[in-house]
Point group: C2
Chain length 289, copies 2
């Protein structure tokens, strides 16, 4: 089974748990709507890839960790789209959750997905309880405050932004969590894998900034030019388009260099290169990493 298939099966199984009777029908539908069909599943794929590179001796734990990352990511999209934040009508090419189901169900769907993420890991604790606890701690650190995506989003409500903390928390946190959790699930040292997640997160953020600046709403599947509208820090504004493309390239090179010696090192390098191509707007292909 491919890693992609393992992720989709685990995500669906978590969803079904939250949707089973007597779940209220609108909430049950909204949970599925928020998670399926997925985006590129970048974070869970990264988690799974690191676990595989480290031997993946507890495959249910790595699948649970990958699923939990995606559920938290989807929850953050649902809440970030709410009228009090981005007020986004469109996400992944379809109406955002609050547009389709109402604001109250969108708030609850986000909450439920967060809870489901932690539950998904805890349910596999019997396979290796210490690793499960490590996965939950890492996920919590990368989601909450002071270093997680909630804190990252909250910086947007401050007059004086700690830019370094903002970037690390807003986008970087779930990427470093992905590589760390892949390592934890496979019993490897998570510290050795943190740099890879940080560099890929950085690349992903710059790529997102480039796409936000270069593509239109139809190509993006969400409103374009949002960083300018919301006056958010953006690599294109800061470095120009060429500078941002160079930064993207540098981050991906650094990511590949950082990969520790491990059984699956070659496959992992190939995967990062593939992700890099996917990330880079057409105008800048090929990225030479």
């Amino acid at each position: 089974m491919t890693p992609q298939d393992r992720i989709e099966i685990a995500v669906n199984s978590a969803l079904h748990r939250a949707q089973r009777r007597p779940a209220p029908p609108k909430l049950a539908s909204a949970l599925e709507y928020a998670v399926l069909p997925g985006g590129a599943r970048v974070r869970p794929m990264l988690c799974m890839s690191v676990a595989l590179a480290c031997g993946d001796d507890k495959p249910r734990l790595s699948a649970a960790g990958a699923t939990a990352l995606e559920l938290i990511h989807c929850a953050s999209l649902v809440h970030d789209d709410l009228p009090c934040f981005d007020d986004a009508d469109i996400r992944r090419g379809k109406p955002s959750v609050h547009k389709a189901f109402g604001e109250e169900i969108a708030v609850l769907a986000g909450d439920t997905l967060i809870i489901l993420a932690f539950e998904t890991i805890a349910l596999q604790a019997a396979d290796d309880c210490a690793r499960a606890a490590g996965l939950i701690q890492t996920l919590a650190t990368s989601s909450g405050s002071p270093d997680g995506i909630c804190a990252g989003q909250a910086w947007e409500s401050e007059a004086n932004v700690n830019l370094d903390a903002y970037h690390r928390a807003k986008t970087g946190a779930l990427f470093t969590a992905a590589t760390r959790m892949g390592a934890v699930a496979a019993g490897a040292d998570p510290h050795e894998w943190e740099e890879l997640g940080a560099r890929i997160g950085e690349a992903y953020q710059v790529a997102d900034d480039l796409r936000d600046a270069l593509l239109d709403e139809e190509e993006l599947g969400k409103p374009a030019g949002q960083d300018t509208v919301h006056d958010r820090p953006n690599a294109v504004t800061e470095f120009g388009i060429k500078g941002a493309a160079q930064k993207l390239n540098d981050s991906l090179s650094a990511a590949i260099t950082s990969i520790p010696a491990c059984p699956g090192e070659a496959q992992l390098c190939a995967l990062v290169r593939k992700q890099a191509e996917r990330l880079t707007p057409m105008a800048f292909h090929p990225v030479t990493v």
Copy 2:
């Protein structure tokens, strides 16, 4: 140290973790504002009391479980007060979190408190990993969907309400979680303790309905008559004031009868009686349980 002191210390310690640098200042303030000063800490006290009655051989785990319950409860209050739900301006006698900090910080504070709840338990996993995993699973079940407070709240967005599922999930879930988690933390059988939580939850709901019908905003510390305004199921509407008072009495008697034989049985009965007095509106004192 009293159980109350242990709870306050553990709650404060969890808060400080989420507030430490580089937490964004508004979010950090809102987290504290949502949790301190507390209400009666009914759910964590119930959890702690059951743990003590069962021997409380892992006191850091019982304190973590109790804290996690309170953090989830506070998160639910913050989100339930949002304009898309109750649109409540006042909570615990002061402006609600979104009134004081804005809607976006209120959404993020709720999310952060949910995450902090799971993290708080996971951080004590070294004391007994299997029990920690059991605590996290129980907390997730009672918070999410289909049987937790998110599902309970989501029933209020449905045209056809499953009343039984609604009541069990909306109020009952965190009470059965409290007794079950107290037992899990102390290594006892959670099933034996479920009935106690369910009956106290029932009593608490009826008492809340009586208070909502009989007291004014100043006495309640929140808007009065909200069940009528939002057309929510309510024991006073259903059974009248006398009938509801009788139901409150019956639930508390059933709660005391359900307490399993354990070292701390007598103290626990006394505590339930004391809670009963606190719950019952003055007009119906004394409750003879």
